[in-house]
Amino acid sequence: MKINKRKINQIIGINLLRFFLLCTLLFIIIFLYIIFSKGGKVISWEFLTQSPRKFMTEGGIFPAIVGTFWLTILSIAIAFPFGIFTAIYMTNYAKSNLFLKIVRISVNTLAGTPSIIYGLFGLTVFVRFFGMDVSMLAGSLTLAILVLPVIINNTEEAIRNVPADFIKASLALGATQKQTILRVIIPTALPAILTGTIISIGRVAGETAPILFTAATFYTRKLPQSVMDEVMALPYQIYALLTEGAHPEKQIPIAYGTAVVLLSFVLIVSGIAILIRYKMRRNRKW
């Protein structure tokens, strides 16, 4: 009798968990299905390669694709070296526990700070104080600071996962710390660092709030000529199409189409990263 009750508990419990998981997967499927089925209709070669026309109700989103591309590349290019060096410092050089703690709190605080606050910071400091105005540069810098903690945390973890054995072996052979870092630690951690960085590319590409006041423009036909130009961007475009303009019935399908482009980009990029990471874990011999 008692055994029975325990068995029933087990069956109920496990099925409850299965239910939660299946629902989660169902959410995902419904979500993706709706976005892709509604947006897929809009996607065409013209949509991807042309500027918007007829008051944003026709034509394509090419300037927004280009804008998001540059914003992403620039911000990662800015954040990457800072992130790597900070992680190297934290894992290899930081001696004082207090300082390390301060750095860690800073990084974690940055990581948890809402993106709209980055937007305010970018507006106050880059756009106004440094007079960059609404520009790709101001937006990229803002986004760079936003992903900096992501890159640091990821790189730090990658470095910490380098087996201590390798480091010991290198030092025991008479290598200096810098040599050990550059020749053993970083090369070993590199695949993990890069996959993490690729994932943060996806993150940057999809951020909207930080570029609201710093980089995004509603409409332009011209592709950016310099970093001081303002740009259209995919995520902002989705937002703008839904909340501004006078023709929602025509704008919503375009918003869906834009979302498909953005989502595909993000999913492909992070999918690649996850695949690499998965392969890497499989093939890892240490």
């Binding site: 410092y89 526990n97 640091i152 006041f213």
Partner: protein
Amino acid sequence: MKSMKTFNEKLFKSITYLATLFTILCLGGIIITIFSEGLPILKYSKLNELFGIAWHPTSFPPEFGFLPLIAGSIIITIGALIIAIPFGIGSAIYISEIAGNRTKEIIKPIIELLAGIPSVVYGLFGMAFLSPFLIRIFRIPTGLNALSASIILGIMVIPIISSMSEDALSAVPKNLREASLALGATKWETIIKVVLPSAKNGVVGSITLGFGRAIGETMVVIMVAGGAAQIPSSIFQPVRPMTTAIAAEMGETVNGSPHFHALFAISIILFLITFITNFITEFVFLKRKN
């Protein structure tokens, strides 16, 4: 020769040190910015007025009561957690404890992938699909309200809670599970009595992290929450979370006006809330080691 070597070593170390200082500087910059632009609101409005229940920044005289905005944020966030916790933790347990290796290898990346979906796309989904859907189901005047924002935010937070809880559960030593099973416990008993309690910190940490994420989310709420600055009496009413107020009103304020400072003051509150939850997550629940 040797001095060259030491110079190189020192130079490299200094570069990494400067990068680290830069990181701290960024945080410092953010804090200084929001405080120096936010605190001046006290020149125009007393502290107790700031925590009043009316947000009428453009009326005459303006009223800058933050409570409706804070309430909006908190209500939506709690709603999101109510949705995300069972689904997030439930699926984490299933993935970590019950699913076979095969299933795990497929589902885990899918959930991770989900975590990367841009919030504006969720916002689109909420605005263009969920909200009309809710109107039809509940026969309510607007689908842009606290409920739909909670649902969307909840879906957004599920992957965060799920993948972090999963990490915590997987980190529970295998030998604890074995000990329990070897004593004749069923899998369910092992999960409930041994694995979950052992992973408690990580699991709770995932919830506080989810809280921080949800309360700081801007695009979803600005698009879906409805935007009425009120303390709602039902979940079908629209609310105006702090992030919405900041993002939507910043453009309409005159630089240096009371309204401008009030928005920065809200960002201080928002920052403090996320800072504290973050701090709790990291140092109480995750006990990150050096």
